[in-house]
């Protein structure tokens, strides 16, 4: 069956419109879920239209679709919410490698191409390759298959520079004459270097900076799809790829702003690799508190703010947090969850975990809404968060995180910090909050500490 061109075009336009509407709806809590379905429907239309364009043999397409759908569906079903960041990284990498393969297949099947197509292929391979290998490294770091610490070595910038030069040279040589026998060699060198560039780009970045990296890689995979669209001269790829590219860039800049750092700084500084020398001395003494004493403090509180961080995800403590939150509410306290934009390992990580634990989303508050009224909060409970509540960011110009907007937990009347030990956050930055007059440390595994608090409440 072959569709007339006009039907194909209209089909692709409809798909593009559905993507646009879908993304728009994803931006509002009430319509988000429908938005995702609208966008999925757009994808279905794009796929069906492509299958009906005509002149295609279906055997291998169907094999690919079946294998891919099965893997995608199973993985999406079994993945735990706490593993969501690495899952997103993995899917993202697959999108990137698909674009790389589309570029390669195009070159393989018709090496005699215009300069424009050659350049488009190079971009699809470069961006797709970086998105793939970068995402794989991000996946490794997030799933703790490899160390989340920044990996730095002497001369790293020089090596990276050489890789970039190699990419440019092999790309130019390839594009000069794509039909020459040696062009294949140049192409393979170009592809290999692109993959290496992705690896080199992500290994120096620490785990705490992952929200930035993930949104940036997300943008890349969109741009790679865009480049693939220029190869096969297809508008729907260009439109949707560009939408994803733009959305990824915006999220990236939101994340950077939330850390008060430039993108260059996140990508190249190997932040937190060396402990900060100029962090300044911390005065005072940490005051440990037992679960029972913490209970008395909470029992008397009229308003409580929870500040979750990556530690909550690690301890899988989100359900225990919600349980305690409900008990506090029944006890007459006003309960809020204050979420820093870069808490956790991906944008919005904490929101997802708390939502999984059935915390109603109208209790989830943003940093800027709570900071001005923090001094009216009786108890601020910090659960596995560290750098995002570090007052040094506000007060100590020598601190590496100086200038980063933080949740002013220390302004609350009492701060209770749930933590394993006095150790520092990912960046190895000391946190004077632990030693403040109004701070109490509840040491131990966050989930266990919360459970014992819940038990205390239930005894009454």
């Amino acid at each position: 069956m072959t569709l007339p061109n006009i039907v194909v075009d209209i089909g692709y336009i409809v798909a593009s419109i559905l993507f646009i509407m879908g993304i728009k709806m994803l931006g509002k809590p009430q319509t988000a879920r429908r938005g995702n379905m609208v966008s999925a429907f757009g994808m279905l239309i794009a796929v069906v239209i492509t299958l009906l364009v005509g002149g295609l043999s279906y055997t291998w397409i169907i094999v690919g679709l079946l294998i891919g759908s099965a893997i995608g569906a199973i993985v999406a079903k079994v993945v735990k919410m706490t593993s969501m960041p690495e899952m997103v990284a993995l899917f993202n990498g697959f999108g990137g490698i698909a674009s790389l393969l589309v570029g390669w297949a195009e070159f393989q099947s018709s090496p005699d191409m215009t300069l424009f197509t050659a350049v488009a292929i190079l971009f699809a391979v470069l961006i797709g390759g970086v998105a793939f290998s970068g995402s794989m490294i991000a996946w490794g770091k997030l799933s703790e298959t490899m160390s989340g610490k920044p990996f730095l070595f002497a001369g790293q910038q020089i090596v990276n520079g050489l890789i970039v030069i190699g990419i440019v040279v092999s790309g130019v040589l390839f594009a000069i004459d794509t039909t020459a026998p040696v062009a294949y060699t140049y192409f393979m060198i170009f592809a290999a270097l692109s993959l290496i560039l992705g690896v080199m780009g992500v290994i120096p970045i620490g785990g705490g900076d992952m929200p930035v990296v993930i949104s940036l890689l997300n943008s890349y995979s969109g741009l790679a799809a865009c480049a693939a669209g220029f190869i096969i001269l297809n508008n729907v790829l260009i439109v949707s790829g560009a939408l994803v590219g733009a959305s990824g860039i915006i999220l990236t800049s939101i994340m950077c702003k939330a850390m008060n750092r430039s993108l260059t700084n996140v990508l190249f500084s190997g932040f937190g690799a060396a402990p900060a020398a100029s962090a300044g001395k911390i005065e005072g003494e940490a005051k440990p508190v037992s679960a029972e004493d913490a209970y008395y403090i909470l029992e008397a509180a009229r308003s409580v703010a929870f500040v979750p961080g990556y530690g909550m995800a690690v301890a899988q403590a989100q359900h225990a947090v919600r349980e305690l939150g409900e008990l506090l509410e029944n006890n007459g306290a006003e309960v809020r969850y204050v979420i820093h934009p870069v808490a956790g390992r991906m944008p919005g990580h904490m929101n997802v975990l708390l939502a999984e634990a059935n915390v109603p989303y109208d209790q989830l508050a943003e940093m800027d809404d709570v900071n001005p009224i923090m001094d009216t909060v009786d108890v601020c409970m910090v659960i596995g968060a560290n750098d995002v509540v570090n007052p040094d960011a506000r007060e100590n110009e020598g601190s590496p995180i100086y200038g980063m907007p933080i949740i002013n937990a220390d302004f609350a009347r009492t701060v209770i910090i749930l933590k394993r030990s006095l150790g520092s956050g990912f960046a190895g930055i000391p946190n004077p909050l632990f030693f403040k007059e109004n701070t109490r440390m509840l040491f131990g595994d966050a989930k266990q500490s919360l459970s014992s608090l819940v038990a205390e409440f239930k005894e009454e």
Binding site: I23, M43, L56, G68, V88, F94, S109, L251, V352, P360
Partner: protein
Amino acid sequence: MSIGLLIFVFVLSIFLGIELISKVPSQLHTPLMSGSNAISGITIVGAIIAAGRGAGTVSTVLGTLAVVFATINVVGGYLVTNRMLGMFKQKEGGKS
């Protein structure tokens, strides 16, 4: 389709994307990211063409691999996003 027109579409889409996304509450950052990630699987269209046009064994193998990866991206991405969004609820009694 002329190349100039494609570039035109590209530039407009970038601007459209920026307009669409600039104001999203932070609680939706993850679903937005994973939802738009699924959209980047649109490269599946290119993959299908590469796998099906019968341009030699190597090409078909590359195309089929591309279809597999792009489909994982698409199917997995949409399902995971849907699962995540299903968890966002307002207070008990209210509907989501």
